[in-house]
């Protein structure tokens, strides 16, 4: 574990905090895009250390959180069909939708299975030809290659009992939507390290120039995060807006071409309903025509809503404002009251990457 320890080194972290304080001439507002970064920032108390110098707005990079309720409703419908088993990642299971979560649906008799990898779902389909296995494909560019690979594998095996409910999202269109919002406060981005390890950061050059905003590819450990923040603050103080990579041990300019090829083979870019954002143009992936037999809604004759679901549940949870950085979790009237990890009103309180769960876990009652 030595490779982690050096990025959690207290002396190095303290020195970086000192340099950030020395560099910043005025308070700055940065957004960490990924929910994994949010949890790490709060877990290690970095937001508290930088209070008054750098305000960190938590970004939309929590795949469970931005999955629209309509998609979860559809997943529940599929899981309730006779002979169908819905396979999903763990933290998706507890997200409340219009009719409760997938876990409550399971208690009521729906066939829901937790898997760790889409390939496990393919294997399950292979072993159980009598079942129709539907994999709930959520996640950013990081998980899309694995689900695409599962499709290719199922295709190669000629599996007729495997399909996907595709709800993949793409991160950059969401960042565009944030910058275009009239009330945007974000002055610099800590770009999501894991996503960039797949996509590279070449595509951000144009974004940084267009919006005059620094984009710093950042990792997940305290030292990584502080390096990303220091780079952002340094650029803001000198008036530059460039793309920089402070997560060189994982990310290269052009990313992982093999993973990109698999995604391009199976998926094409499509508009996608995002929770809290509405429909984002080019905000997701869908299966290419060639692989549309693997599309679960099509296979089972269900129609997919193209709009976001704004049901009562969705309204009570102000996930949208949290995910777009307009509302701090602790300022939501339901936070810690009606909404806790034990009885979450919405996805950000469920997921291990959700901003509300991070606040509840690491700051609890304290208001920053």
């Amino acid at each position: 574990m030595k490779f982690i320890d050096e990025f959690r080194d207290p002396a190095l972290a303290t020195e970086l905090v000192r340099r950030i304080r020395a560099t910043a001439q005025q308070p700055r507002v940065l957004m960490e895009v990924c929910g994994g970064q949010t949890h790490s920032l709060l877990r290690h108390g970095i937001d508290v250390e930088l209070q008054g110098i750098v305000e960190l707005i938590h970004g939309p990079g929590c795949p469970v959180c931005v999955t629209d309720i309509s998609a979860i409703d559809l997943a529940q419908q599929l899981a309730s069909l006779p002979g169908v088993v819905l396979a999903s990642f763990g933290d998706m299971l507890r997200v409340p939708a219009s009719q409760g979560s997938l876990l409550t649906a399971r208690t009521a008799g729906a066939n829901v299975m937790m898997v760790y990898s889409p390939v496990d779902a393919v294997r399950h389909a292979q072993r159980h030809p009598e079942q129709q296995v539907v994999f709930f494909a959520v996640g950013f560019e990081t998980t899309a290659p694995a689900t695409a690979l599962a499709v290719l594998q199922a295709h190669q095996l000629g599996l007729e009992n495997f399909s996907l409910l595709v709800s993949h999202v793409r991160v950059q269109p969401a960042m565009e939507a944030l910058m275009q919002a009239p009330d945007n406060r974000v002055q610099g981005f800590l770009a999501a390290g894991h996503v960039c390890s797949i996509t590279g950061y070449d595509a951000y050059d144009d974004f940084a120039q267009r919006y005059r905003v620094p984009v710093v590819v950042t990792g997940f450990e305290p030292v990584d995060l502080l390096q990303g923040i220091l780079e952002c603050v340094t650029q803001l103080e000198s008036g530059t807006a460039e793309v920089r990579n402070t997560y060189g041990r994982s990310v290269t300019r052009f990313g992982n071409p093999a993973a990109q090829r698999v995604v391009e083979t199976v998926y094409e870019i499509d508009d996608r309903a995002w929770r809290g954002f509405g429909v984002i143009s080019a905000g997701g992936y869908k299966l290419r025509d060639q692989y549309e037999t693997f599309d679960a809604p099509r296979r089972f004759g269900l129609t997919r809503s193209t709009e976001t679901n704004d049901s009562a549940t969705a309204q009570r949870c102000r996930a949208g404002e949290v995910l777009s950085g307009r509302l701090k979790p602790c300022d939501c009237p339901e936070f810690g009251m009606a909404c806790t990890p034990d009885s979450p009103l919405g996805a950000p309180m469920v997921s291990s990457e959700g901003a509300c769960a991070a606040w509840f876990r690491y700051h609890r009652g304290s208001k920053l």
Partner: protein
């Protein structure tokens, strides 16, 4: 797929399709039941079981206070690196007695068997339970067997009840914890939960994380002998891990438990698995690791005593008791001030990416 052998996911040993299995008739009280008990079950507890076929066991007490507890055990898979359901069902109850301050003497054991369980599996589980009982020097004095139809249970459930003699001095309990007391653990945390999860999900971690499943009798005895009346309370940090225990204690005593992350022992295997799955070892179950609250001046003596017990070589102080602050349990991580450590809620679910 046409497989010549049935691969039982709960067991690393392939079971032949024609292997002898438990049938409902084994539970119907007639000859098959009798043979199950006398040929399969009793021989495995040779030195420990009361061999009479009576309705109740009769034991002798020597006029001391007794501790009584019961616990039902189910684990999937039944065999995991470092243990299995059989030994777990003995250690679990023995440990509950031990941390209460009792010396475990007698156990009862009830088996609820799912129809179709291969007898070879049952034998291995019972062998392991018998071994654990002999190791802990407890006598299995009574037992029961039920067979339920296929689908009504997950292979095998084992309930064990235990009776132990209270040993002086008895730790008074969490309400006696004082500001300034120290908190220690007897070894690296989170090993059982990660071992079971890796086995259940067939994660190919190399080396495979081993469960800490085992008896804490010797650890508790060493504490009693070294720092006896200065012990406040002892717990085995099972479900919900160290965090769950400390939150319970905090509720009882009203103070704050302040931990320092860098002091908490975690094996490389557990840490690696937790990093990968997005879990925190403080919330992961243990099955043979205890957490102890002890008066500050005697903490080092307690640690030294524990370290002489096999399996507790990494015993260490992980935090101290402070007057109630921002949260019932706090933790100091890489930089900055102490932060609240939240109570566990539900089973930890692994993250997406």
């Amino acid at each position: 797929m046409n497989e010549p052998m049935l691969w039982n996911r709960n067991c690393p040993i392939p079971i032949a399709a024609d292997a002898e299995r438990i049938s409902l008739a084994h539970g119907e009280g007639a000859r098959l039941s009798r043979r199950l008990i006398s040929e399969i079950i009793l021989p495995r507890f040779a030195a420990t079981a009361n061999r009479r076929f009576a309705d109740a066991a009769i034991v002798t007490t020597i006029g001391c206070r007794l501790a009584i507890c019961t616990d039902s055990h189910t684990v999937s898979p039944m065999f995991f690196p470092g243990g299995d359901l059989g030994s777990l069902s003995v250690y679990g109850t023995v440990n509950d007695l031990a941390v209460t301050g009792a010396y475990p003497r007698w156990l009862t054991m009830s088996l609820i068997i799912e129809e179709g369980l291969p007898i070879a599996i049952l034998e291995r589980i019972l062998d392991s339970a018998g071994h654990a009982a002999r190791e802990c020097k407890v006598t299995i004095v009574a037992g029961d067997t039920k067979v339920v139809p296929r689908g009504a249970a997950d292979g095998l459930f084992i309930n064990t009840s235990g009776v132990g003699e209270m040993m002086d001095p008895v730790p008074p309990g969490p309400q006696s914890i004082l500001v300034g007391d120290k908190i220690l653990v007897s070894g690296p945390i989170g090993r059982h939960g990660i071992a079971v999860m890796s086995a259940r999900e067939s994660f190919a971690f190399d080396p495979a994380p081993l469960s800490d499943s085992g008896s804490v009798i010797h650890a508790v005895a060493s504490l009693r002998n070294s720092v006896g009346e200065h012990l406040r309370t002892i717990r085995d940090a099972t479900r919900g891990g160290v965090s769950a225990v400390l939150h319970e204690w905090a509720m009882e005593c009203g103070h704050t438990f302040a931990l320092t992350e860098s002091r908490i022992p975690v094996t490389d295997e557990v840490r690696g698995a937790c990093e990968l799955l997005g879990l925190d070892p403080l919330y992961v179950a243990n099955e043979g690791t205890i957490i102890v609250a002890v008066a500050s001046r005697f903490a080092e003596i307690a640690v030294t005593a524990l370290r002489h017990v096999p399996g507790c070589e990494q015993a260490v102080i992980i935090g101290e008791v402070q007057s109630r602050g921002i949260s019932p349990v706090t933790i100091r991580r890489t930089i900055g001030s102490a932060q609240p450590l939240d109570e566990p809620s539900g089973a930890p679910l692994p993250r997406i990416c």
